[in-house]
Symmetry: C2
Subunit: 238 residues, 2 copies
Amino acid sequence: MTEIPAAVDFCAACAIRNRAICADLDTSEINLLNGLGRRRHLKAGEQLLWEGDEAVLVANVIEGVLKLSCGTADGKEQILGIVYPSDFLGRPFGETTPYGVEALTDAYVCVFQRADFDRFAREHPRLEHKLLERTLAELDRTRRWMLLLGRMNAEQKVATFLLEMAERLDAGGCAGPGKRGEQFTLPLSRQQIADVLGLTIETVSRQFTRFKADGLIDLPSRREVTILEHAALEDRAA
Amino acid sequence: MTEIPAAVDFCAACAIRNRAICADLDTSEINLLNGLGRRRHLKAGEQLLWEGDEAVLVANVIEGVLKLSCGTADGKEQILGIVYPSDFLGRPFGETTPYGVEALTDAYVCVFQRADFDRFAREHPRLEHKLLERTLAELDRTRRWMLLLGRMNAEQKVATFLLEMAERLDAGGCAGPGKRGEQFTLPLSRQQIADVLGLTIETVSRQFTRFKADGLIDLPSRREVTILEHAALEDRAA
DNA sequence: ACCTTGCCTTGAACGCCGTCACCGTTCCGA
DNA sequence: TCGGAACGGTGACGGCGTTCAAGGCAAGGT
């Protein structure tokens, strides 16, 4: 009696089956890929990849939020990107991982040996195409962030950050385009927000305080944010 | 008598035939692609794409240097990237061009209607693979630039910029790893350098002056730079 | 030869944000 | 329940880079 490996129905039950780069694969392809990947749990704060290491792993994010970051020689850090469920992670077709990857929340990822993944991708153009579309979109997003880092002041940066977070986390306010009440829990500490925006923790804190004092947002607790005046916040972000 | 269109041997004679994304295509594929593209000349300062416009064109850079940029609501500009011969340009598989493209020097590009290119790419995985590798590399480069924008001071930014320019323009000093005498002509004005680095023109100018006074570089003319002390410049960039 | 124009350099003063210091709060495990 | 560490908020101060202003320099036209 041959036991069906648990892995076989893994992908079929995957929460991101229809959103990740594997979405266009058919059943037989999925089963093949299934054999290559394995699910892995990460605790908040746990590191998956280290900047400069040999690129051995790539992964899909199933659940949770992770950061990509690198540091300067003098110890400062810059967060290069934040990845969410269904996002792809790692550096295919490359020698070294150019940035570190760390879980911001508890997370599940679907990891592959890079060599396995590369081979599979080259043999399955539909997967490569998905990966290309995703990479192009990520490049666009990254370039937009350069405008923030290079040309915005602290107020504009923090306002932009809050608006983007509300959007990416799909903050509750599904009551149509109603302005009030977008609420979400930050997956980042103040220090990490500072590292995303190229600011210091103190400056971020002061901007939060000011936005709250001005009635644009509420801060029920350290990690929670409610956007009260979406339009006004957009003005600050301009 | 059927005249062979000039286009047929176009790609074969192309200066970037073996470096651009078309490098892996065979003769029949190249001929097909040839029928879709056309060569176009751009004068220095001429604009090829406008930020926010519908994405109608993509292109390969054959000769010259171009910038990708976008602007803030209040009129400031940020240069998002600089593209060199054999680089790919534009936004395949997307609705809108997320940044403007302008020639910094006189340039030749090989342009395609995006719809044509998208169709061709989907039918030719080898091309898509090349494009993917290029996009991944560009994403790495862009992310490294975020570290510069977010976490470096003016001196580090300008030093890094000069070193990168020397490398990308393949500055003369091919006398082995000899330190002295890397010379090149800047394809950017001081204002454009400022827009790359997220600084003002005055700050860029002052840093240039200081590096010259400290003997790290020479500035024979406005657009020419000689790196005299490569190692010392790297120290300033750290 | 002169003026015009665009680009770059230089100087002076301001102001944003980083730095430093300290305190309050929250969240742990002991 | 307590103690301690991690995290976050706030104030004072100063430095770095922007802003504002003026002048130098090279190229091109008349």
